[in-house]
């Protein structure tokens, strides 16, 4: 039995890198991890696996050769006038780079799942900035930890234990830290909080406005705001103002509800305000394990972190128009390549309707729901299990994911599949 240590987990934006994986006969037989999601991933990743390229023939998906599948995807992309290349958050930076090159070559729109998770956070950052830090700073110094509209107990199971409330840092022990949870429902995370504030749905913005008022010693002409009594808001303001190092972690509760980017604007502004009193930082709780990497790679290669339109031969960025849901709901695209994502399971119905009405190809290790709807399916190796690759943690710390077992025979990593498609696309374009 082989034991691989310091394995980075390819599940959520935590990128915990202290897992031990036990391998026997090229199979993972045991995982030493403290996380249910991680353990499920390593032990179950090969379930519902399809290892043959598939192609739709007379409304049925039938096995085919890799060559044929590549040919079809390449043709689909070359023929399209406005292809959408979507996904990218559950794969390596290396694959993301290849995807950008492909999008540029075929004059398509490349968008990652940021668009439906922290896209609004990026829009907020582009207006206000990003006073942040790495998670180790939180571990070392934070005496106040605020989780706003996020639920790490479910979505980032080891976040509190490894990085924040429950970890021992150089200057701070767990008992010296206070935890505040602000959410529309009493999430599992909220149960262990020092203070839980239940905000009315879609009124986080009002609550933050009230907080800023109190921090500036201004009078509020209401008894309660967003369903929260002003005294309780004042209690939170006091906690924030008086801490030595505070951190505001926020999640989809802010980005997905009314206000979206403006909620993040308000949160960043709040943190800017708090820095007049103390040291305070803000950080989005990124979901997919390498969605941060997708933003980073796209930003350094094109200048923009998501929703990049190459149709005119250079990168253009107009989120709200070149972002996936808008492209789909306006019916702009005439073909879609989905890589390492499952939009049919994650996007609104009408966007999915358009997606399914045009040629659709999927590259994914799983037989995802989107794969069932596709015209071409190319199975790929799991990055971080069957293939090596770089990923960026939610705080931008880059890590190299390990290959712990061999992929099934004939199954290639995303980066290689994309490279084959790119080469074929170039041949087809030369012949055109």
């Amino acid at each position: 039995m082989k034991v691989v240590s310091a394995v980075v987990c390819p599940c959520c934006g935590n990128l915990c890198d202290d897992n031990e994986v036990y391998v026997e006969d090229n199979k993972i037989v045991k995982v030493r991890t403290e996380c249910a999601v991680s353990s499920s991933k390593f032990l179950n990743y090969s379930k519902e696996r399809n290892i043959k390229p598939l192609v739709r023939v007379e409304s049925q998906l039938k096995p085919t050769t890799l060559e044929d599948a590549i040919e079809r995807v390449a043709r689909m992309l070359v023929e399209a006038e406005y292809p959408l290349l979507y996904g990218w958050s559950n794969t390596s930076c290396e694959a993301q780079k290849k995807g950008i090159e492909l999008a540029e070559e075929v004059g398509g729109v490349i968008d990652n799942t940021t668009t439906v998770c922290h896209g609004p956070s990026i829009l907020g950052v582009q207006d206000l900035g990003d006073p942040s830090c790495t998670l180790g700073e939180v571990k070392a110094r934070a005496d106040l930890i605020v989780y706003w509209g996020c639920n790490p107990s479910s979505a980032h199971p080891r976040h509190m234990k490894r990085y924040s409330a429950l970890t021992k840092g150089r200057f701070r022990a767990p008992e010296q830290r206070k935890v505040v949870v602000v959410d529309v429902r009493k999430t599992p995370t909220a149960r262990n909080a020092t203070l839980f504030i239940q905000v009315k749905p879609n009124q986080d913005y009002e609550l933050m406005a009230a907080l800023k008022m109190l921090l500036q010693n201004e009078e509020i002409e209401e008894q309660e705001v967003a369903g929260v009594p002003v005294e309780q808001i004042d209690e939170l303001a006091e906690l924030m103002r008086s801490c030595e190092f505070g951190i505001l972690f926020f999640g989809l509760g802010l980005t997905m509800s009314e206000g979206r980017d403006r909620n993040i604007d308000a949160a960043i502004t709040l943190v800017r305000e708090l820095n007049k009193w103390t040291k305070f930082a803000i950080m989005p709780m990124r979901g997919h394990y390498n969605v941060t990497g997708a933003n980073q790679v796209l930003a350094w290669q094109t200048g923009y972190p998501y929703a990049v339109d190459f149709s005119r031969g250079y990168p253009r960025y107009e989120p709200g128009d070149t972002s996936a849901v808008d492209v789909l709901s306006r019916g702009y695209n005439d073909a879609t390549l989905v890589v390492a994502s499952d939009p049919v399971a994650n996007l609104p119905k009408d966007a999915v309707k358009h997606l399914c009405s045009k040629p659709l190809a999927v590259i994914d290790p799983h037989m995802s729901i989107t794969a069932y709807m596709a015209d071409v399916v190319i199975p790929s190796a799991f990055v971080g299990i069957e293939a090596e690759g770089t990923a960026h943690r939610m705080d931008g710390v880059p890590l190299i994911l390990k290959k712990v077992v061999e992929p099934p025979e004939g199954v290639l990593p995303d980066v290689q599949i994309l490279d084959l498609i790119l080469k074929r696309v170039r041949e087809l374009k030369r012949g055109r």
Partner: protein
């Protein structure tokens, strides 16, 4: 491939060649004595200026903070884009260009080597990933040490050998090139929200002062024989009255000097040469700094020239960026990095009519003109802090032409003109001096013996500009100078033609240099396990995952350290 560049006017200060008409022969990527003219590709560069490829020792082109600048400034790029064509990938400018565009635009200026001067070790994998994506030019990155817990603890405990072993291990683990110090101790203080760290003030919870860090690191640098001196961004950057801190920092290591070699490179000194007590009494003390540098060979500087217009400031000096944000109230990014360092990013528009900005503009030029020896003062804009590197030709024209300077001086506030010395300086750079400051000297101070000159055996990194140095008088025809330096007629990198008539025609992968530093084995054997032990208490990643394999670098070029100094 063999090339012969014929009939150019060559400026090659290392080999004491000053505008001599001669041919340059290139074979297999190197400068050679001669080539067989019948086999070689002959390029006629008659009456053109031939120089070694430019070497920029301080330009923020890659890494996490640069990418913060890209990511949060779509407005910086959307009007300045590059369409994909031929060998070129698409991309965007302007003050924070995308990676591909960065490589192309440097090559078009005739620059072939550019060093990223600040990388947080924990995020250096990211820095290398971006460097891999910058085509053409050779590059390297300087890891940040001035606020590193291990370093501060070793220095506090007087364990310099151990400190050297730690730095050697880190340098080769993450493939770094030189010791960079930014606001020593000041970033650690900022992590508690404290924004002003004085050179002789104790750093919170660490019991040492910035002075001790700088001295300690200079000693370590000598022990390890690193090719470049300690590269320091001093405390109090951007603050009125900070010239005293700069002088103190320089003088703090004077006794450690050996011979005429620089042991301390103080960077973008323009930002650190201010007098006054606030922004109203703000003034230039470039003359005091220049005077010190003129008398003391143990320091070199680069200028960090300001260009009027919009740009993005970015530095590991998080507290400075916070102060700048409080002045401007626009966008502000901060990125503290556990154990090691921090960073801040704030966009700015330098305005000619703004008194402070105008004084800053004067100071950069004063430094370049008042420091007599061009081997010890280098032209930078601290890209993009003072302005984008694409504006270098403008800086050259100011240095080469009093007339060009006067054109600007006429349009800045009177008080800025009066309170600076620039108007009284007559000196104008020659092509020879310009070549020293932008190539020969920078290559030398970086320890790159194959760069910055055109002698036999040098890397065939060559820039040819369409300007006749015998005919053009830069003093009068500064616009011609600017145009010529904006678009190289020819840029050659490792003996390959990269730019032809201002257009990129090839985009090969450039090298990434790093120093394979080593401390005595017995010390490393004690230090590395000790670091490993403390590592997990300090960091949030495993010790094993901190290491960057050499294979990660697209074109790895390890350098052996020099013989340790004294």
């Amino acid at each position: 491939m063999e090339y012969l560049l014929k009939n150019g006017y060559v400026v090659d200060p290392v080999n004491k060649i000053d505008c001599e008409r001669m041919d340059i022969a290139v074979k297999d990527g190197k400068i050679v004595e001669s080539v067989d003219e019948s086999k070689a590709k002959v390029i006629d560069v008659k009456n053109m200026l031939v120089m070694p490829g430019g070497v920029d020792l301080h330009s923020h082109i890659a890494g996490s903070k640069v990418n913060v600048g890209r990511l949060f400034r779509p407005e910086d790029h959307y009007k300045d884009y590059e369409v994909k064509s031929g060998v070129r990938r698409s991309g965007v400018g302007h003050s924070v260009p995308s990676t591909f565009t960065t490589g192309y635009r440097y090559a078009i200026l005739g620059y072939t080597t550019v060093f990223e001067p600040a990388t947080p070790p924990l995020k250096t994998l990211h820095t290398h990933d971006e460097l891999n994506d910058i085509p053409i030019i050779d590059k390297a990155c300087f890891p940040l040490f001035g606020n590193n817990w291990f370093v501060m603890e070793y220095i506090r405990d007087g364990k310099l050998e151990e400190c050297a072993a730690y730095i050697a291990w880190l340098m080769r683990s993450i493939k770094g090139y030189a010791i960079k110090v930014v606001d020593p101790g000041g970033v650690e203080a900022w992590k508690w929200g404290i924004t002003s760290q004085d050179f002789d003030q104790e750093i919170p919870r660490f019991g040492i002062t910035p002075r001790e860090i700088v001295r300690g690191l200079v000693k370590v640098n000598k022990m390890l024989g690193l090719p470049h001196p300690v590269h320091v961004h001093t405390n109090q950057l951007g603050i009125p009255g900070n010239y005293k801190t700069t002088l103190k920092t320089m003088d703090a290591v004077k006794d450690l000097a050996t011979g005429d070699r620089s042991i301390l490179h103080v960077t973008h000194v323009q930002f650190n040469a201010y007098g006054g007590v606030d922004y109203l009494s703000f003034s230039s003390h470039a003359d005091d700094i220049a005077d010190y540098v003129n008398k003391n060979p143990h320091v070199t500087i680069d200028i960090g020239q300001v260009i009027f217009g919009d740009t993005t400031t970015m530095t590991a000096d998080g507290p400075f960026e916070y102060k700048l944000f409080n002045l401007l109230r626009g966008k502000w990014a901060n990125a503290d990095v556990e154990v090691e360092t921090g960073a801040g990013v704030v966009p700015i528009t330098y305005s000619r009519s703004n008194y402070v900005h105008a004084v800053m503009w004067c100071i950069g030029l004063e430094l370049a003109l008042l420091i007599k020896d061009p081997w010890r003062v280098f032209i930078t804009t601290d890209h993009p802090n003072g302005g984008p590197f694409t504006e270098y030709p403008r800086v050259f024209s100011w240095l080469m032409s009093k007339k060009a300077r006067e054109r600007v001086l006429k349009r800045i506030p009177r008080l800025a003109r009066v309170r600076t010395n620039l108007k009284d300086i007559d000196r104008e750079y020659t092509f020879y001096e310009l070549a020293i400051s932008t190539r020969a000297a920078t290559a030398k101070i970086l320890g790159l013996s194959n760069k910055g000159h055109l002698g036999v055996g040098a890397d065939a990194d060559i820039a040819v500009y369409n300007i006749n140095p015998k005919e053009v008088n830069p003093s009068a025809d500064y616009k011609i100078v600017m145009q010529a330096f904006s678009r190289a007629y020819l840029t050659m990198k490792d003996g390959e033609i990269i730019v032809k008539d201002g257009e990129v025609v090839a985009a090969p992968v450039g090298r990434t240099y790093w120093v394979n530093a080593k401390a005595p084995k017995d010390v490393e054997d004690v230090v590395i396990p000790e670091v490993k032990k403390r590592f997990e208490e300090y960091y949030t990643v495993k010790f094993e995952n901190y290491h960057i394999p050499e294979s990660y670098l697209a074109c790895s070029a390890p350098i052996q350290p020099l013989e340790p100094l004294g």
